[in-house]
């Protein structure tokens, strides 16, 4: 028969050499071989003191499989330090890094909250747009109120991102602010359309 007989026992772990030290794993993060860096990330994820090294690495890492492993580790160990390591990616990261950071930040609401006000005032409009995107999916009681604040932004695309978010999570308190928005961007038909849709969704 082509099917081989079952062993009737769980596969045994290969005999392992002495576990690598933290220093060894950190050094391995600089390997030119992505698979070695990923292995180091997975080992650091399991290491009690491994997260700071991953925070240090996250901005420099570009290999997708390594980035994913770092993000999975950081999400599992959410902390203020992890959020501090991820936020710069909204401004300086590659699109892959930025999107991964947004997904990761979205599951760390209590650690993201102290940064929201500053993010909404960031001089870079892209960062403010990403912040609005983040708030739309952030499970935090103030998320809708922050999006209403974002409607005061001078940049139409920031406002549009906030309107999109409010369409899903906004409540009646957003309606008057939404209603006033199209007048600020009279030449922007999308804003008028998005506001109308959001208001209907919130409506009743």
């Amino acid at each position: 028969m082509a099917l081989i007989e079952a062993r009737r026992a769980a596969p045994q772990a290969a005999a392992e050499a002495t576990p690598p030290t933290l220093d060894t794993l950190v050094a391995q993060l600089g390997s030119p071989v992505a698979s070695e860096r990923r292995a180091a990330v997975r080992a650091l994820d399991a290491h009690e003191d491994g997260i700071p090294a991953l925070c240090d690495r996250v901005a420099a890492e570009v290999a997708p499989s390594v980035c994913e492993a770092i993000m999975a580790a950081l999400v599992r160990r959410a902390s203020a330090a992890v959020v501090a390591a991820l936020l710069p990616l909204l401004r300086d990261g590659t699109p892959v890094q930025r999107n991964a950071a947004l997904e990761a930040l979205a599951v760390m609401p209590e650690h993201v909250a102290p940064h929201v006000a500053a993010l909404l005032r960031d001089p870079d409009s892209d960062v403010r747009i990403f912040t609005a995107n983040l708030l739309s999916v952030l499970p935090h009681p103030k998320a809708a109120a922050w999006l209403v604040e974002a409607l005061a932004d001078p940049h139409a695309n920031v406002c549009a991102a906030a309107v999109d978010g409010l369409a899903e999570i906004g409540d009646a308190r957003a309606l008057p602010v939404l209603a006033a928005l199209p007048a600020r961007f009279p030449d922007d038909s999308f804003i008028a359309f998005a506001v109308q849709l959001a208001s209907q969704r919130i409506g009743q």
Partner: protein
């Protein structure tokens, strides 16, 4: 991206005239559908709206909320996602039987295994992992499909691993005794060839029972999962959908490590790896999409 609706139990109670449930407005229902789709990838078509709404109302009542808005606020803001998990459970029906979603088994023997064989010398092992395997219908179906429909099967050592976290399910799987309902999709010839009457049901033949390596596994236990390496094909259907975001990320990382480069993972019909991770490349195998660990990812 195409996402199909989940199975919805058609045995749900029909609304009565005196039903006191709070109706959900079309706007709120649309809002809920957007949210649920974003969270799970499950989209409810118009034909499922009644059942989805009933399940939603059930959860609103079960959690003691006054109406949709209160419930939806709680759902969005809860930390840990416990109620979200309850809701997913309520919205999906997990039923296992032989040859369930058999188009993936068809893809296995028509496309995946021939592809592996084209690059691997005869006599070498091919490893297939069913996770979670529940009471065994899936791994036994895989075994039957290979024996019946892959002409090169005799040239390779095919190892079928099957794992679950539930020790009782595993015991049932090893026993291999099933009722008529579990066999309802099996062609009569297969039933006759691989099963014998046993009490009120049927028992799978010893040869097949002896060919599946059933083991208990907790996907969240990285140390245990490290034992599973160089897998060519993982059937991981309707498991990840039940995990919260953090657990799902961990599980996907672990499954990636278990697969051989170039290996593929089969998900349930309402699941999409693209929504969970960019580690895998969606690939068409015949009429189905499987997710491949790239040979050279980086």
């Amino acid at each position: 991206m195409s996402v199909t609706a989940p199975l919805i139990d058609p045995r749900l109670p029909v609304a009565r005239a005196d039903d006191a449930r709070e109706p959900i407005s079309p706007q709120d229902y649309a809002k809920f559908c957007d949210f649920f789709y974003r969270k799970t990838g499950i989209m409810f078509g118009a034909n499922k709206a009644y059942f989805a709404e009933r399940r939603l109302q059930d959860r609103i009542a079960a959690t003691g909320h006054a109406g949709f808005r209160d419930y939806f606020t709680m759902l969005r803001f809860e930390i840990g996602g416990t109620e979200m998990q309850q809701l997913v459970n309520a919205m999906t029906i997990n039923e296992t039987y032989f040859y369930r979603e058999d188009y993936q088994f068809d893809a296995l023997v028509r496309h995946v295994l021939p592809g592996i064989a084209a690059e691997r010398a005869p006599g070498t092992p091919i490893r297939i992992w069913s996770l979670p395997c529940s009471t065994g219908e899936e791994p036994y179906s895989i075994a039957m499909q290979i024996l019946e429909h892959w002409s090169q099967a005799d040239r390779y050592d095919i190892e079928i691993l099957a794992s679950d976290i539930d020790s009782r399910a595993l015991a049932d799987a090893r026993a291999g005794v099933y009722g008529e309902r579990a066999l309802h999709r099996l062609p009569p010839a297969l039933k006759q060839r691989y099963f014998t009457p046993y009490g009120d049901g049927y028992r799978i033949c010893d040869a097949l029972r002896g060919s599946i390596d059933f083991t208990q596994v907790n996907v969240a236990d990285a140390a245990t999962m490290r034992r599973y390496r160089d897998i060519d094909v993982i059937f991981c259907r309707n498991m990840l959908i039940y995990f919260d975001e953090v657990s799902r990320r961990q599980a996907v990382e672990t499954l990636y490590d278990s697969l051989r480069p170039g290996g593929v993972i089969c998900l349930g019909h309402s699941e999409s790896m693209s929504r969970m991770s960019s580690l895998f490349a969606p690939c068409r195998f015949g009429t189905t999409i499987l997710y491949q660990r790239p040979v050279d990812h980086d």
